[in-house]
Symmetry: C2
Subunit: 754 residues, 2 copies
């Protein structure tokens, strides 16, 4: 081959040009970056600048022999590529230039290209045919700082809690026998209660610190120990204790709440029935007020009307039972009544039957059971009567006159639990990602026969594409759930309908995300991921049920969509649609501007990475789906289709809207947050995560965006390429991002993660 | 409201017009059906025909008051809708017409509309506001006949086997302790062996019937009992016995095969190593021939070089060990050597260490373990020497001179196992679908407050969309796997490279399908699906590993893609790419015709349901992906990127191609098969399943088809609507389709399925 000698100024650019062309980094905005750097670079003379710029025409790429010459220049330099320096390619280029004559200064213009194009060693280390000093891990970012950003105001509480999880009682183990497992979990939650964590969200008078936000963050950490512990904890303190806190009166708080928070009084939350899972309003258990004895009689009328899947059922002394309250022959709707289940010796009380639900796919440390009531009499005072009561003279009284509104007010107060379920799912996903990625940063498979070392799993593009967008999503959902809890806890905003609806959608999207993530993690670890000792298997089993408990995801998404349709003015959880229909007529103007074809085909990096584009795309999708949905429903109604049936016919449309709205909400919540990060470096990292999340989600719905003409073919393809590219850009920082989750080392017991 | 009286001829059409307009059945090809019927209907006079036709203009729909009048006519007729009659809408119409005057004859033209538009009672029973006699289940098709179609020539063998599964030893149970569980499973497979099933695929001389096709069908049925039983059976008779059958000589068959088939000799298949899962060629265990003692010395050289995940490891007396065979200092590549593990008293032999792999996410009835060899000496005769041997004078000899070819020939003979894994996954999916759908045909949730009964889960459009396409896929994959096994067993075709590559792709697609299906089924059953007693949980755990064992799906799809790239001329399983690259240059002509814009926007039913469209779409995708992939690789190679790295850069593209090819193959295999079905009625049912499969799969890749301009926006939307529509059309027959799987009643123990 004929060798062409290059002047030193050009020489230093050769590695960059070689990478840029080999790696297809030649879109308009990218060549622009290179052009600017060249223009400003005073180490180049005019001819050199012209020469370099002539190699930047995408429609006229450098000839094949020019390429080969570049390659020869690089490999013949005998310079070693060191990945651990701050700017590996600029440093390498400096050395290549120096190797051919005298020592040459470090060129900041090259550094700028390296940063602005996001060029990473793993993009080019294989291209050069030179010795490479591999470093799978960068230290550009600080995982401790990332963790602090995620913890926010609750860092101290969380860190203290993490230390506690190092106590032997919280050691993870394999538990196959449910009864033995449940004893262990019971001890764990009693231990946490004694340390004050059970009552955390209760008022100070009852041993708490009124800290619901902290509680939900602690709850996520519990997943690092064991899913059963987290759920049992949630049942005792969140659901059972929470029902007393939210639905009970001052007297009832005084009588029960402190003992619930210390786990002295174990209780359950008996809502779901065998015949009625998702349809709470249709439950059949009756609570009939008896004038003569001034008591309430609890009864299970039919074969499938027993309470089912009730957590803590085998350990509890008492239950908050949801039942149709009948006073003087009138059904006043669903209310909660405290019903003692067992005596001091843990013997079941007369009229009550409890059965173990048996083995489950996961959460076998939680004692779920079925409960039947056969004419069980409890005092009138046991009605949790914050929203409705039976007066001394035996009549029903509530300040909320509308029974519908009363029902949803009661249920709405329990929405905090839904945020916690999503948080637990998120914790499981983070744990799975930490294990799978730590494994992929050590495990090598296959190789280029010429190399000595096989490639790290994490360096496979497929592996990056499988896992890195999921890491980005974990960050987005973490911040989103923080925000939801903070809004939910904001007492200055008494109308919770909007946040309730938002949580319904987010719970669905996040628990599905958690399941998909754990499945990817399992598969990404191959057979190793299948072993219980490596933790992912248990997490998968535990998190699985999150998609259908505390509200079935498909049902919740429909609620969320109805909320969007009615601009959040419809009752939460409503099965009726009249309020929605009323609002539809006001909303049917199509506010959507037509999409400019130029916009639909804009593919440069600046545009694709711009949050304005992402927000616009998400908003467009939500609005468009809302509008078309409203139109379809109105058409059906016009044709005389009953509204219930009309909503049935658009069920899949409702679900699409519910998801779209939740994604939009998560993204905008996250980007609002990133603006508040002080460290510029870390702010940019978070922004990159947001970009990956946005493009990944838009890609998922690419067929819809294409159908609408919102994006054109070339933009759709560019989005796909950008997602892959962003994954490789985040690859060097993936270990910091995983450590940023702050999962305590003592919880990361999986052998493959060590 | 002003009532308009209609003449009787028109009256009988009113229910049809009402349904057609309410349900948006007004595309060109559909109005065509109605127009033709009207034209041919002699019971109508000219004016009536004109009147009816005037109501068929999509651009000028009937006025609102016309609609209301239709509705009034229907509801005021007081006719009851009976869903169980053969043509419910035509019958209803006849009665409506009769109700207004004298008895009116049944109109065959209406029947034709009902059939040709695929109108089902669940499309309209809610529209009429009349009494409905509900029937969730049709009996238009015969599940016994469907089962017979699926069983083909093997019906007798299969039905016999199903009867055997009723013996108490095959009763399903909850097993939490792995050791006890394994004893049960061991007894089960010994029992099956004594009945002759173990040796089924072996030659008659060794107790078999040479029936590999039957074997694979039986294997699927085993999943209905328990996943662990199926896998342990596969390890003993398929992998261990199979390795002797395929890799061993006549003498070795005589010595071992009969005893393997009766389970008298338990053995394992020791290929995978801790350090090397997917990369079999890179395994480290050595088998060094020692001239002095005329023996082979087995050794585990390093810390991670032990055999891992070896099924049957705790029960076995002997193992087929895959190791690097070194003869006279030369590595002859990977060979299998029989290594005794334990003595008659089940004591582990010197130099051998075996450890239990411990608890797993599923398959805990299979005793997977790790095995180490410390200089273990075995006779030279223990080398399975069908493809390569060590002669008496201590030199290596093989008829296959090329070591690469030798390796892939040996591995290729084991491909049958991959078909069986896909079959087992399919069996699991069928079982999950049967349980979830039987549950959905009984369980009711929510309701229209005016109705007494709540809706069946199966009548929710979301539920239909979740489950029915998965049922269709089960049919497609069943037939496809039958065909693959038949080609694999065809001894007249000695070159198995093509079928091996096809199986690599199909195994991936089908095992992922199985996992997704079981996840949908679990969620579709809510909390009930989470209980072990309802079986889906165990199936999920068992089937999960199928995606990464017998070849990791992502790796297999890349192999499949390389096969397509090289027109199946590359070596199966090859990590090198030279043969692919050689072929690329011959393949780079783009054979694809440009897509006609008219074609890209054809949305009428006839076109969308036409197999020619489906085949063309699948073929287009495969070809296009092949072409663009080849171009990308060539570009990288031209730029000097090493071929190994070039393939790495296109990894996600390879996976897309591998999937696309597999889907195309499955669809065309299935449609070839449907042509052979005798019963016209059932042939049409199978064709409808094929249509749903095709549209469902095309929709999954809609963004790609849109990007390519292969489909336009309106076609993409029409496809989505057609998928939903096909689900409702299949809804009345879903019970027959599920029963057509032929899962024995004694295996369907899930309480929710009864």
């Amino acid at each position: 081959m004929e060798k062409i000698a290059y002047p030193q100024g050009i020489l230093q650019y050769i590695p960059f040009f070689y990478v840029i062309w080999s790696d297809d980094l030649v879109s308009a905005s990218e060549t622009n970056v290179v052009q600017n750097a060249i223009q400003k670079d005073d180490s180049l003379n005019k001819d050199e600048k012209e020469q370099l710029k002539s190699w930047l025409h995408t429609d006229n790429p450098p000839a094949e022999n020019v390429f080969k010459n570049w390659k020869y220049v690089i490999s013949s330099s005998n310079v070693k590529l060191i990945e651990s320096v701050n700017y590996p390619l600029a440093t390498f280029s400096q050395k290549v230039a120096s190797a051919h004559l005298v020592s040459y200064p470090f060129n900041n213009h090259l550094k700028d290209i390296e940063i602005n194009l996001g060029i990473q060693p793993n993009h080019y280390n294989h291209l050069f045919n030179v010795a490479v000093e591999h470093h799978g891990i960068s230290n550009l970012y600080d995982s401790t700082l990332i963790d602090a950003i995620l913890n926010g105001d609750h860092a101290e509480t969380i860190n203290q809690f993490r230390t506690i999880l190092n106590e032997p009682i919280f050691n993870w183990g394999i538990h196959r026998n449910k009864d033995a497992f449940r004893e262990i979990v019971l001890k764990q939650i009693k231990n946490l209660a004694l340390k004050g964590y059970g009552a955390m969200a209760y008022p100070e008078a009852y041993g708490g610190t009124n800290n619901m936000e902290g509680y939900s963050k602690i709850f996520e950490q519990m997943m690092y120990v064991d899913g059963s512990m987290a759920i049992k904890f949630g049942v005792q303190f969140g659901l059972f204790g929470g029902s007393i806190q939210k639905l009970g009166s001052k007297e009832q708080h005084d009588k029960y709440l402190k003992r619930a928070g210390t786990a002295e009084l174990l209780g359950c939350f008996a809502m779901t029935e065998t015949g009625h899972g998702s349809n709470v309003r249709g439950i059949k258990t009756t609570a009939t007020y008896d004038n003569k004895t001034d008591s309430i009689v609890m009864h299970t009328p039919g074969k499938n009307d027993n309470k089912e899947y009730i957590g803590n059922a085998l350990h509890s002394k008492i239950a908050s039972v949801f039942a149709q309250l009948i006073v003087n022959g009138k059904n006043e709707g669903v209310h909660a009544i405290l019903v003692p289940l067992r005596d001091d010796k843990h013997k079941i009380l007369p009229g009550i039957t409890i059965e173990d639900n048996g083995y489950k796919l996961g959460l076998n440390g939680v004692d779920n059971g079925k409960i039947w009531f056969n004419q069980v009499q409890v005092p009138r005072a046991n009605l949790l009567n914050n929203f409705g009561t039976i007066t001394e003279n035996g009549t029903y009284y509530s300040e909320i006159k509308n029974p519908n509104k009363r029902f949803f007010t009661m249920l709405g107060t329990l929405v905090g639990g839904r945020i916690c379920v999503a948080r637990a799912g998120l914790g499981g996903a983070k744990m799975g990602l930490a294990i799978a990625i730590k494994h992929a940063l050590k495990r090598r498979q296959f190789n280029d026969n010429k190399k000595i070392q096989e490639d790290l799993l994490m360096d496979y593009p497929t592996h990056q594409l499988r896992l890195i967008p999921l890491v980005a999503s974990a960050y987005i959902y973490h911040i989103t759930l923080d925000k939801m809890m903070s809004v939910y806890c904001d007492e200055t905003q008494p109308d919770k309908r909007k946040v309730e609806t938002q949580v319904a959608g987010l719970k669905s999207v996040i628990t599905w995300y958690a399941n998909n993530t754990l499945q990817e993690c399992r598969e990404a670890c191959g057979g190793k991921g299948y072993l219980i000792e490596n933790r992912i298997a248990d997490l998968k089993g535990d998190v699985d049920i999150f998609t259908t408990f505390e509200g079935d995801n498909n049902v919740l998404l429909q609620l969320a969509a109805k909320g969007v349709l009615s601009d959040f003015k419809a009752e939460f959880n409503s099965a009726g649609f009249s309020s929605v229909l009323k609002l539809l007529s006001q909303q049917l103007s199509d506010k959507l501007a037509t999409v400019n074809p130029l916009y639909a085909n804009k593919v440069d990096k600046d545009h694709l990475y711009n949050p304005k584009f992402h927000k616009h795309a998400f908003e467009y999708r939500t609005r468009r789906l809302t509008y078309t949905l409203a139109m379809r429903i109105r058409d059906y109604i016009k044709k005389g289709v009953p509204s219930y049936q009309a909503f049935l016919k658009v069920q899949t449309h409702l679900i699409a809207l519910g998801k779209a709205y939740s994604i939009e909400l998560a993204y905008s919540t996250f980007t609002d947050f990133t603006d508040t990060i002080n460290s510029q470096e870390h702010k940019e990292l978070f922004q990159k995560l947001a970009t990956l999340y946005a493009l990944f989600e838009i890609r998922k719905d690419a067929s819809w965006y294409l159908e609408q003409g919102y994006i054109g073919s070339s933009k759709s393809k560019a989005l796909r390429q950008r997602v892959e590219r962003l994954c490789t850009e985040l690859r060097p920082h993936i270990h910091e991002l995983i450590d940023g989750f702050g999962i305590p080392e003592h919880c990361l017991t999986a052998p493959i993660a060590n």
